[in-house]
């Protein structure tokens, strides 16, 4: 009798597992190819631990070199992490762009794009990446980037806002 009961419970559990498992299977199926692709990318990506974290400048050091509020523009700081600070540029409540400074010591590959750059802004090498980003490299190390978040915010606007950073102030952080 006991054996029958336990078999019945076992069967019920199995059905339960199949139902739950089946649901999960159908749910994740659609995105499986994407997950496999990123798995592969993850395997090819080195761990961040390989960089010297002690050498990375704290993001808080960058804040005071950002363009200031005014002329109807509002700057809202959004992130401050090791080697990174970011702010939103807003006007009338709309986000026009993201403004950021990052220390390339934590991501050395970022520097490569400036090596072939034939343009400069205030003497710093300039690079345009994708359709939304313009950036420059200060003191061969600090990347200042402006990313459009509104279709009307053109590459020329990005360059104008790059110039509003205190670039020479940032350069002194590296000395």
């Amino acid at each position: 009798m006991m054996r029958k009961v336990s078999t019945a419970i076992g069967a019920l559990l199995l059905v339960g597992l199949l139902v739950v498992g089946g649901c999960q299977l159908t749910q994740s199926k659609a995105s499986q190819p994407d997950t496999a692709k990123w798995e592969q990318i993850e395997e090819q990506t080195s761990a961040i631990e390989t960089v010297d974290k002690q050498a990375v400048i704290n993001g808080g050091e960058f804040n005071k070199f950002f363009p200031s509020n005014g002329d109807g523009y509002e700057r809202v700081y959004t992130q401050e992490k090791d080697g990174f600070a970011e702010a939103k540029l807003k006007q009338d409540g709309n986000t026009l762009a993201m403004l950021s400074v990052s220390d390339t010591v934590s991501n050395p590959a970022a520097v490569n794009k400036y090596q072939n750059s034939d343009r400069t802004l205030q003497g710093y090498p300039l690079a345009e990446v994708g359709s939304t980003a313009t950036s420059l490299l200060v003191a061969d190390r600090l990347q200042v980037k402006v990313l459009s978040r509104d279709t009307d915010f053109a590459p020329s606007d990005r360059e104008a806002w790059l110039e509003k950073f205190d670039l020479s102030g940032l350069a002194k952080l590296v000395d």
């Binding site: 649901c23 993850e42 993001g59 700081y77 959004t78 401050e80 990446v129």
Partner: protein, 295 residues
Amino acid sequence: MSKPIYELVNNLPEKNLTVFVLRSLDKILPGEWENIVGFENTIRQVTGESDAVLIEQIGARAIQLYNDKSEGYQRAMWLYQTIDSTGRALGQAALAGKVTENVPFLSIVNRLTPKPEKAQTIDLCMKLVTEIVAFCKINGIPGDSVGDFVKALGDYGGESLVRMAGLVCFDGLVPLGPNFIKQTETVLGNLTPKDLESNPAFKAIKDAVPGNKTDDQLTFIGASFESVKGWMGGFVESKGITPQGVVANIRTFVDIADDKMDYFGAFLDISTNYYEHTGVQTLTRRLVERAVAEI
């Protein structure tokens, strides 16, 4: 390590009870939330870029940042997942396979027990503390002044704002009623460290709550509630939200009987994970914003 970030985002459901419940908030916050699922899709939406190679670069950097424990993203993810998981086991069993149908609230009502007011109040506060701690883990403490930080906190939009609206509606108004802010203040005022230690939600995330002793943690919880109660009250008033209104918006897909209203808070508690769902979305958005700026 827990699941990789791309897997968590790829596995976000497009349709389930949590998504329906979050959509019901559209009446309060029109157009604020779009259920963005999928890692690659999130990168496209957040950055506005479409070049495949560039998207892979951004994704690789995001994965790298997420995988580094000292960056704090995994801790934030754990918080969002943990605070939502207390009490959900029963719900998942009861609702297995029924997620896209009209949800049979009545069929599980006999398994529900409304939480005592004190426990519900602590739950509300613990979700709030989760939000504050997770915010700092994800974003750091942006800016150079208290004003900058308050501005950063006030800049909630999209899924973050909807999560806060969910907190007010599903963990405040529905289970505790229209006076939930006053009630929470009263309960918090009389709460002892011992009360706190016996609460499952607190126990689950205790290690992440600032403070060395339970006493200090209680102070932090009180201060957290104090700092956002004004926003909560203003939100309820400006949007004219009532418990009945919240329930009416959900009623289109859940068959709630009027005499079982007391059970509805418990029903939402066990059957949805809106904090985790929108938490994954917020975290990924911020991670991608950082990754695209750093590459």
